[in-house]
């Protein structure tokens, strides 16, 4: 089974967690960081990244600012106050999900 499908549902949480750690990031930087951290196991596609970022922005979870980099404009994303609270909630949900999955996988009744 393709690992990417397993990660897909957690994309928003991954982005929120990264932004909480790094402060502010731009789109390309997020894809690169995720690839580095997961040693290439998770490759966020461009087609999935930007709609996710734009959705989080529309929900007031992310705020944006522009900055000039070399000869081009760059759009940075960072967490709003609501975003920081959301990150905590989603991490808890993810941890709870992982714990449940662990129980399910280790359950003898499944073997």
């Amino acid at each position: 089974m393709n690992n990417q499908k397993l990660y897909k549902g957690s994309l928003q949480t991954i982005i929120l967690n990264l932004l909480d750690e790094k402060g502010k990031l731009y789109g390309y930087e997020i894809t690169k960081l995720v690839k580095e951290i997961t040693k290439g196991n998770l490759n966020i596609t461009e087609g999935a990244l930007y709609p996710t970022l734009h959705k989080l922005e529309s929900e007031g979870i992310l705020e944006v600012e522009m900055a000039l980099f070399n000869n081009r404009q760059r759009k940075y994303y960072f967490l709003t106050k609501k975003g920081k609270e959301e990150k905590v909630t989603r991490l808890q949900e993810l941890e709870s999900f992982l714990e449940t999955m662990q129980h399910l996988i280790k359950s003898k009744s499944l073997i």
Binding site: Y26, G27, Y28, E29, K32, T45, E46, G47, Y50, P51, H54, K55, E57, S58, E59, G60, V64, E65, M66, F69, N70, N71, R72, Q73, R74, K75
Partner: protein, 231 residues
Amino acid sequence: MELTDKNIAQLYQFTQDHYVDWYDLQTELVDHLANDIEEIWKENPSISFEKARDISFKKFGIFGFGEIVEKKQNALSKQYWLMIWKEFKSFFKLPKIILTLFFMVGTYYLFSFFNNSYFIFSLFLISMAVLPIYKAIVVVRKMKSRAKKTKKKWLIDGALFHSGIYPYIVLCPWVNITDLFLRNSPFTTNQLLFLSITFVTFNLLFYISTEIVRPKVQEKMTEMFPEYALG
């Protein structure tokens, strides 16, 4: 190796050739492509700009930028409506609720007073259609002027129009207006109450969309893209 100004201009043109007409979205995609091209060049400096650009574009998948555009438009509409809803709710909490109730009661008495004067009464209801149409004309002119002055199209302008003005033209209670011309007896108390609440709610939403939220969104856009203010 870094991209030249000419390369950046080529990337803007490339996004436009792939159906991304709006500068506010093009900018983010151009930066992404530029970063990726520079990364590709680090590994293989001999590769041409065009080849590296095409490799990078393929990573956006078979739909190219299409899905990003569509979802960005949806996200902008959602963001705009959430802001309108937040403001709208504040008019039903203290202290603003006093003003809202004052307008509702005032409108009820005004409507009751003119209940027998079909012509004057119809003017109130027709204003619900005229105001959004007038505002739509002003906004479309402004959008065209901004596009002309900045030589750029702005996705936010389309979203502000489609979410903040267009619905009021469509939602306008045409049925009530038609009914008004056809009716041959005054409205009942319940009908007057319903009309007063609808009238105030409609105008309140329209006011919030055009006079509170729209300027806020445009102010943020100007912060991000100073040239946006040129329009």
